[in-house]
């Protein structure tokens, strides 16, 4: 987000003259390898950002009864002001933040724990477990959401039926529960994937470090906590950033649950809010403003997370 406009400015003013002074070798080849990707990158990543920002400054306006041809009017920051004053926007943002604060640590904590268990001396059949854990990743997110929606739906759910037979009233779709029901779907799909990244990182730690610790009388838990965990921090940072980005664009689960759950409104998460503004209310300016605000939040959170995760490294 922040880096993208930078390259435009530099490329125009500073970089070109520098290149002219000191021509780079293999310029043709470099261009041939990088330009196709960069052109598409600009088209698919940079241009939509600029487009969003521009679009967010306009609003559709009609007059009288509203049946004349609507026109696009420059409104400055009005769409941003509207978003910041919109309780639905804050509610949607609050939901994904709450979701992220709970789901990301639970998922990564679970993945780390399972990875440590798989990496421990007590584990057997590691390759079998590894594949089983990874299996849900092969289920497309929206299909996973549909699958779990059926497992939650009172009419069809074997869990609800089982609860009934035990006299327990299970409700996965209640207003205070449904967010966590969705968190479970995300966790189910991505935990194994994150686990494998962490596990790969664990397995790259030279084994003699553990031998030395064992000779000093350290317990397995002690080794795991003091030797293994610090060394997989980069993997945790990576999976953490990925998960945060994923959380901010949470869409599949609420979109699917919206069909069956009263507690999931049409603007439950920011992506749904933006989509509704665009394709139900025909308010592309507002949709763009919401997207831009969310991108800023994404950038801030990633930077803060990265800073915190890396600082404690020292």
């Amino acid at each position: 987000m922040t880096a993208a406009p930078l390259i435009d400015r530099r490329a125009g003013s500073e970089l070109r003259p520098a290149l002219r002074r000191r021509p780079t070798r293999f310029r043709g080849a470099i261009l041939m390898f990088t330009v196709p990707f960069m052109a598409l990158f600009v088209f698919v990543y940079v241009a939509p950002i600029i487009y969003s920002v521009v679009q967010s400054l306009f609003a559709t306006q009609s007059s009288g009864l509203g049946f004349g041809e609507p026109e696009q009017v420059f409104v400055g920051a009005a769409n941003y002001a509207k978003a910041l004053g919109d309780t639905e926007f804050w509610a949607a943002l609050g939901r994904i933040l709450l979701f992220g604060i709970v789901q990301v640590p639970v998922m990564l904590g679970g993945a780390l724990l399972l990875a440590l268990l798989l990496d421990s001396a007590a584990a057997r059949w590691v390759s079998v477990y590894r594949v089983l854990y990874f299996l849900p990743y092969a289920v497309p997110g929206v299909i996973a959401a549909v699958l779990w929606a059926y497992l939650y739906s009172p009419a069809l759910s074997p869990f609800v039926a089982w609860g009934d037979s035990m006299g327990i009233d299970l409700d996965f779709l209640g207003p205070n529960v449904v967010l966590w029901s969705m968190a479970n779907i995300t966790t189910w799909v991505f935990m194994g994937y994150n686990l494998l990244i962490i596990l790969s990182s664990l397995q790259a730690i030279p084994r003699d470090q553990f031998e030395a610790a064992r000779l000093d009388g350290a317990s397995e838990w002690r080794i795991a906590w003091s030797i293994k965990v610090p060394q997989v921090r980069p993997a945790l940072v990576l999976t953490g950033v990925n998960s945060i980005i994923g959380t901010l664009q949470l869409f599949n689960e609420p979109q699917v649950m919206h069909v069956i759950a009263d507690a999931v409104s049409s603007s439950y998460v920011p992506t749904m809010l933006a989509m509704g503004a665009a394709f139900v209310k025909n308010d592309f300016g507002y949709a763009s403003a919401v997207s831009v605000l969310l991108a800023i939040v994404a950038g801030l959170i990633s930077i803060v997370y990265y800073r915190i995760a890396m600082r404690s490294d020292a």
């Binding site: 939509p48 584990a123 849900p136 092969a138 299909i143 996973a144 039926a161 950033v241 869409f251």
Partner: protein, 306 residues
């Protein structure tokens, strides 16, 4: 930015191999029986969590609509699997097979092109000195931090103005840009394509393109397969982009098609959605199981979600 990603892909590869030997052999130290049982118990419990929904999916795909409501969800009842499969493939004049084919097309073509474009760019960043190289790489990795879903609506508006919406390209073009491919291309090029080899080829009079295609790509083939696999999966799994971009049902990928059936409210069609979901998952599961060693190599190099 760079530092967020584990920088030692090549090293991991070796460690992985070393580790595999250990898996099969007896562990080096004796573990108490209690610890072993507790560990395996926890691992098995986790496996049950991951497998229950899949088991339910398999069992349910064999049931008729009525049986879905009247029987134990975790065990077989009437066997209507064949009927369900026939229903899935004949509904709407056999649109489902078209959807599957579309998914293969989008993920296949998108995966191949995204891999080539990204790896070529990563190769250039690794193997050539030029001004702005770091900035270029940083910008591309910055793309990883951007929630792609946020770009979809503006992208839709841009595409609609140039007439690309509701076409194959609307789904493929955005998928071609995969910053992770650049990252992995750079890491692998640095680790597995020796500079001396490139210099030697130059002395033999080979052009840069030829060197890339004959030497670079060959040496980086594990990276290519990994990047291809993960791009393939991310396109196959994508839902938001086709949802926004496509109107014509015959262009739908299988995810969107199934969602369309899921929200089709004129009839109770659980059996079709459930069986269709199972069928749509099978190709990826098979691909993942059979290509294990490739994606595991990719994961250890620090791959990314989506």
């Amino acid at each position: 930015m760079t530092a967020t990603l584990p920088p030692k892909a090549a090293v991991d590869e070796g460690a992985r191999r070393q580790r595999r030997r250990r898996d099969d052999a007896e562990p080096e130290l004796t573990v108490s029986r209690g610890a072993a049982i507790a560990t395996l118990g926890a691992l098995t419990l986790a496996a049950v969590y991951f497998l229950i929904p899949i088991w339910w999916l398999i069992v349910s795909s064999t049931k008729s609509n009525t049986a879905l409501f009247n029987s134990n969800g975790f065990w077989f009842s009437d066997l209507s699997l064949i009927d369900n499969v026939v229903d899935v493939f004949t509904r709407q004049n056999g649109l489902f097979s078209r959807w599957l084919l579309n998914s293969v097309l989008y993920a296949g073509v998108g995966g191949i092109l995204a891999t080539l474009l990204g790896v070529a760019c990563g190769y250039a960043i690794a193997k050539y000195e030029f001004r702005g190289r770091g900035l270029l790489f940083g910008t591309i990795l910055g793309g990883l931090l951007l929630p792609a879903a946020l770009l979809t609506v503006p992208l839709y508006l841009m595409f609609s103005q140039i007439g690309l919406v509701n076409s194959v390209w609307a789904v493929i073009i955005p998928a071609l840009v995969n910053p992770f491919a650049v990252y992995l291309g750079r890491v692998y090029a640095a680790a597995s394509v020796p500079d001396e080899l490139i210099e030697a080829a130059r002395l033999d009079g080979a052009g840069e393109l030829r060197i890339f295609f004959t030497i670079g790509l060959r040496l980086m083939s594990p990276a290519l397969v990994t990047v291809f696999l993960f791009t393939f999966v991310s396109i196959w799994n994508n839902f938001f982009l086709p949802l926004i971009m496509l109107t014509d049902q015959s262009l739908y990928p299988v995810t969107l098609g199934l969602y369309n059936w899921y929200t089709a409210t004129r009839e109770a069609n659980y059996n079709v959605v459930i069986t269709g979901s199972l069928i749509s998952v099978i190709p990826l599961v098979v691909a993942f199981l059979s290509l294990q060693r490739f994606w595991r190599a990719g994961l250890s190099a620090g791959s990314v979600k989506s």
